[in-house]
């Protein structure tokens, strides 16, 4: 059955190529797949899948693109219909533990995150954004339709386009997070369907949900952006990157070595590359293992590759799945890693956030940003988007590092409007070397209308992660004595591309309790108060304001006339 299936896939691919080349003649497309496995210092294993589809076409031109080969049609239609220039969406379950795991290759906040740059020709950005979120909600089976004006912001500096293009007017940018979004198989399946080989062949066969969700961290993302076609950059291609990051918890209470393999992690082994892929590789980070004492790999590979990743020079063992020899005589690849955990360098930048105080009236948001670099300071951009029901007192904003006031050089603040839009706070803060910078902001908890509470109001309300974007001085540049392997003349001035690298750190989301009425008996309460007010108040008011006297029965007509006459005479009445 396996062979038959393989044959079918290949046949389909061949037919596809043939049809495409003969009949359509539109732009070339290309598909690459890649898996990076990195044993973490905590003993866990970080696996990162990347699938990249590149298509030389232009979605913005007049006549619509109608023939799709490798690029998923559903996304292509979204790009052309909604004038999308760049789209980034991620679904994450769990929180990336920077202090234990270091920096991830692709950071993402817990829950769902979506940010989109629209074409500058678009007039109704908000309406398009609303439609787009609803369509994406359908494509990814997620609650993205809950994105509305109350959780959408337009960051002025934190999210710049990653593709080509020089429009940076943030009117065309929309950013929203749903910290509460829970990611599970129903999001993974549509994500896998976007791949040219589905989960039938190539690296994607490893993506079995029962194992992927038996992990410490799970994050899947889709990034679409225009990139240069060639060096001249006269025409653009569209790049679709699908990424999936998983951290497997390999905690072992014993002191012995961990032993893990592809089969143990994914309950699958690899037998082939995706037939339509131009490149299909597995990289294993063996930097910490240069002498081979930390862990061992089997089967071993002669291919090595070096790259500067996140400011650090890393060495990778490479397995090329397009080469038959990789699979050996068993015709299946089951990488085996035996290793033990070790200590790690503290990450240069990390952050945490919490709510201080108690009670249901006020509170204070504390954001701590750590610069662990021994001697370099660097600036960070902090983005905070807080829902309107936390009423921020912006005058209480303090930024302190090392006990001193640290004045941000740039502040962009947009106050919230009740039930319309959230607070947006962006700041450029310089972090002194080896320091903790604390940003505090007081808030008051709003009392919602009773229909505005969620079905589980006592759970609390989420505030999305802060985003900290920064160019961090790299470890490579820090290592000034590292001249053993490099020629001396190359290391005097730090080279530009290696001296710092871009990092985005997300803090944990917050769970804030708002004053919540007791919903168990609203009916009773309404009835009781209405009755008490109607009956009790009226009567009591009467009792308190009136003076009561016994009324004499009214006198007869004769007596009244007599009294009038007596009054005229000046005699006391009867």
């Amino acid at each position: 059955a396996m062979a038959e299936q393989k044959f079918r896939v290949r046949a389909r691919a061949l037919v596809c190529v043939f049809v495409c080349v003969v009949m359509c003649g539109c732009g070339r497309d290309d598909f690459q797949e890649e898996l990076v496995i990195r044993p973490l210092h905590s003993g866990d294993i970080y696996t990162s899948f990347q699938f990249r589809t590149l298509w030389e076409t232009d979605f913005t031109r007049e006549n619509k693109v109608s023939h799709y080969r490798l690029f998923p049609k559903s996304l292509g239609q979204v790009i052309s219909k909604f004038s999308v220039r760049e789209l980034h969406i991620s679904f994450t379950q769990g929180y990336w533990r920077t202090m234990q795991w270091g920096q991830p290759y692709l950071p993402s906040p817990p829950g769902a995150e979506l940010w989109v740059w629209f074409q500058d020709s678009l007039t109704d950005v908000d309406g398009t954004w609303k439609e787009l979120t609803n369509v994406l909600s359908g494509i990814f089976c997620a609650s993205l339709n809950f994105i509305d004006s109350t959780n959408t912001v337009q960051p002025s500096a934190s999210f710049k386009p990653l593709g080509i293009g020089n429009v940076t007017d943030h009117r065309f940018l929309r950013y929203a997070t749903l910290p509460r979004e829970i990611v599970c198989t129903e999001n993974l399946t549509p994500w896998k369907k976007l791949l040219p080989c589905g989960s039938k062949a190539g690296l994607a066969v490893l993506l079995k949900s029962e194992k992927l969700f038996h992990s410490s961290f799970h994050s899947q993302a889709v990034h679409i952006r225009p990139v240069c076609k060639d060096d001249q950059c006269k025409t653009t291609s569209w790049e679709l990157r699908q990424t999936l990051n998983v951290v497997f918890d390999l905690h072992n209470s014993g002191q012995g070595k961990n032993e893990w393999s592809l089969f143990k992690m994914f309950s699958r082994t690899l037998t082939e590359a995706c037939p339509v892929a131009s490149s299909s590789k597995i990289y294993i980070d063996i930097t910490d293992n240069s002498q081979g004492e930390q862990f061992e790999l089997s089967p071993a590979t002669p291919l090595l590759s070096q790259a500067v990743v996140l400011g650090d020079r890393r060495t990778f063992s490479v397995y090329d799945l397009t080469q038959q020899i990789t699979f050996g005589t068993m015709r299946s690849l089951n990488l085996l890693i035996r290793g033990k955990s070790s200590d790690m360098l503290r990450p240069l930048l990390h952050a945490e956030r919490y709510v201080a105080g108690y009670g249901l009236q006020t509170g204070e948001i504390h954001t701590l940003m750590y610069n662990n670099h021994p001697y370099r300071s660097f600036p960070v951009l902090l983005l905070d988007s807080v829902p309107w029901y936390l009423r921020l007192y912006i005058h209480t904003l303090t930024v302190t590092s090392k006990g001193k006031d640290n004045k941000p050089s740039y502040i962009h603040y947009q106050p919230s409007k009740d039930r319309v839009r959230p607070h947006l706070l962006e700041m450029l803060v310089q972090l002194p070397p080896n320091s903790v910078t604390e940003v505090t902001l007081q808030f008051e908890r709003a009392l919602l209308k009773w229909t505005e509470y969620t079905p589980d109001p006592n759970h609390g309300f989420y505030v999305g992660s802060s985003v900290i974007s920064s160019l961090v001085p790299s470890i490579v540049a820090m290592d000034t004595n590292n001249s053993r392997e490099r020629p001396l003349f190359s290391s005097f001035f730090p080279s530009k591309e290696e001296s710092s690298y871009f990092v985005r750190v997300y803090t944990e989301p917050l769970l804030v309790n708002l004053p919540t009425p007791d919903f168990s008996m609203p009916y009773n309460v309404i009835c009781l108060t209405c009755t008490v007010v109607a009956v009790g108040y009226g009567s009591l008011y009467n009792l308190l304001t009136r003076s009561f006297q016994i009324e004499e029965p009214s006198p007869g007509l004769a007596k009244r006339i007599a009294n009038i006459i007596r009054k005229m005479r000046g005699v006391p009445p009867l």
Partner: protein
């Protein structure tokens, strides 16, 4: 209401109330006490039931296997504790790290206002160690806490051992949806206070916590001092008489039933013979103990301080007595595992069940709707008395027709205001002086600081009795009939509001105060026999109430004490009350000194009115 707006009927009703005032008051008092005593009668109470659906129907299997290993860890902990002569911070950090937790420490230091002789501490320095078990695929928004105190001597080693054993076991489970914080706190409540303040960044008695797990949903504190126990005792009473949600108690009870562990509350086992006299008196004792503990306003376990932060918490104490029925550490571990798994399943904070309740046994409870009438019946006496006085004051005295004028209004106000101000100043003195003057007292008298504080408090209290009862005469001359009536009206209404507010926050305290102060307020006039009344008034004053409560509490705990020991205990209770106020912010001491005592002085003032 129609009844009241008809002047004739109104007059009739009022005259009925004034004529029968004293009998009605007596009946109300009796009814209040009887109602309260009836609360412990089982047919009148409700059975506890789990209100929270997330904890009710879910099936949980307990599999904790490593009780013996946990005890071995406990012994190791005890050895290291002895070696370091305090908290073995290094060892704890290493052990927790080895078990796969993220470990952090928190240092704190605290200087007490005066030395605590019970626990022999004055300048306290310590370190809390906590390890966070990160839930897989959870974004650090919610957490549960399991804590065990690092106590001096050989106490609670088993609790720490079991805590570490559970940490190791929990670490290997995949189902956690909330982070679990394992906390070992030094110097019991002071350490816990420092940790909570550090976690919530509310004060500066210690360093701030370095890492957090989001908002804490529930916490359990474990106290275990023997390898084998006979029963588990649940402690609920927290700071200022706050109680955790009843579902937490229900959860504990449900698991004790499921696993087959004897469980007690107030150290009293549940009995089934509610229809016998001894069974009923057992229930009354249990409930009374709860009332006494709640009224004291102090935290009766390390959990007590969590409640301020709206974190449902309880202390579970292992008791080793001479019963036949023994339970080992594995079973307790399984019980805790089950409780944490159910708490882990919570979707919302515990809020479904009652926050205000009394428990005559672990399976029965009295909700606020049932116990409030007991207090209401007592409070109604005050209102009736006030009505009576109001009527007396508003019907003009016969003599005015004869031309004898009343005192001018300024004097009336002064005669009212002077005692009010002076008695409150006495209250302020009682609140401030003991701590302020401890140094001076130590210099001049052969007493320790603690004794100085307590004796100053008693001295100010007694001096207050002598001081204010003639003060109004300084300004307004002879006291008049009218004068004491107005003063009493004010005092009675003041007491009603005071007790009403207290009972809403801490029913037990409000009820006990009402029990003693309401008769005083009801009967005192300048015309009753002076000596006898003064004696009764002193007997029913707040300080004597406290003294009796001490003896009564010991009696309830089946540990009767001699008068000498009782007196010493009384002194130490006062010092503990002052310490609780300055360390944890307990409100009982300021409430008594600043409000209740001045209010009582007003009645004292009325007695000596002339």
């Amino acid at each position: 209401m129609g009844l009241l707006s008809d002047p004739n009927r109104r007059r009739a009703l009022i005259s009925l109330l004034t004529r029968l005032n004293t009998p009605i008051c007596i009946v109300c008092y009796m009814a209040g006490v009887a109602w309260f005593m009836g609360l412990a009668f089982e047919p009148f109470t409700l059975r506890t039931y789990m209100s929270e659906n997330a904890m009710g129907s879910t099936m949980v299997e307990e599999r904790f296997p490593a009780g013996e290993r946990a005890l071995a860890t406990g012994r190791e902990f005890s050895a290291h504790k002895k070696r370091t002569g305090g908290m073995p911070v290094e060892w704890l950090m290493k052990t927790m790290q080895a078990k796969g937790l993220e470990v952090f420490t928190q240092r704190f230091s605290r200087t007490l206002p005066f030395p605590d002789e019970n626990k022999e501490r004055y300048m306290v320095r310590g370190t809390n160690v906590y390890g966070i078990l990160r839930a897989p695929r959870a974004p650090r928004t919610e957490a549960l806490v399991l804590s065990a105190p690092c106590s001096p001597g050989d106490n609670n080693n088993q609790a720490v051992g079991l805590l570490l054993g559970l940490a190791e076991y929990f670490r290997n489970q995949i189902y956690w949806a909330k982070d679990i914080i394992f906390l070992v706190n030094e110097h019991d409540l002071i350490g816990m206070q420092a940790w909570l303040e550090g976690y919530h960044h509310t004060n500066t008695t210690g360093t701030f916590c370095h890492s957090r797990g989001g908002s804490i949903q529930a916490a359990l504190s474990l106290e275990l001092s023997s390898d084998i126990i006979t029963s588990l005792d649940l402690v609920l009473e927290g700071l200022n008489g706050q109680l955790p949600n009843l579902d937490l108690a229900n959860l504990f009870y449900a698991f004790c039933q499921k696993i087959g562990v004897l469980c007690t509350i107030q150290g009293k086992l549940q009995r089934n013979d509610w229809d016998s006299v001894s069974g009923y008196s057992h229930a009354v004792q249990t409930m009374m103990l709860m009332v006494m503990k709640q009224a004291s306003g102090r935290p009766w376990g390390d959990h007590g301080l969590f409640l301020r932060y709206h974190i449902e918490a309880a202390t579970i104490k292992g008791v080793n007595s001479f019963r036949q029925y023994k339970t080992d550490a594995t079973t307790i571990g399984r019980l805790l595992e089950g409780m944490y798994r159910k708490l882990n399943n919570l979707l919302e904070r515990l809020h479904q069940s009652y926050f205000f309740y009394l428990m005559p046994s672990l399976s029965h409870f009295v909700s606020i709707g049932y116990y409030m009438p007991a207090f209401g019946l007592l409070a109604v006496i005050l209102l009736l008395r006030a009505l009576d006085l109001w009527v007396q004051l508003s019907t003009p005295p016969q003599r005015t027709e004869d031309g004898v004028t009343d005192i001018e209004p300024v004097r009336g106000v002064l005669s009212l205001l002077t005692p009010l101000v002076i008695s409150h100043l006495t209250g302020v003195a009682l609140y401030m002086l003991p701590i302020r003057f401890q140094e001076m007292a130590v210099e001049h008298f052969p007493v320790s600081e603690t004794e100085a504080v307590v004796l100053t408090a008693i001295a100010v209290y007694t001096a207050g009795l002598a001081l204010p009862h003639n003060t109004h005469r300084l300004l307004s001359g002879e006291g008049t009939e009218q004068g004491w009536r107005v003063l009493k009206l004010v005092a009675v209404l003041y007491l009603a509001v005071l007790l009403g507010c207290t009972a809403l926050i801490n029913f037990s305290l409000g009820f006990i105060l009402a029990l003693t102060l309401v008769p005083v307020a009801a009967f005192v006039t300048p015309h009753v026999p002076k000596v006898l009344s003064a004696f009764i008034l002193v007997i029913l004053s707040p300080a004597c109430t406290l003294l009796f409560s001490v003896f009564f509490f010991q009696e309830l705990q089946e540990m009767p004490i001699s008068f000498q020991d009782g007196w010493l205990l009384f002194l130490s209770v006062i010092s503990q009350g002052i310490l609780d106020h300055s360390l944890y912010g307990s409100l009982v001491y300021p409430l008594i000194t600043l409000l209740v005592y001045p209010c009582w002085l007003l009645f004292w003032n009325i007695l000596f009115w002339n």
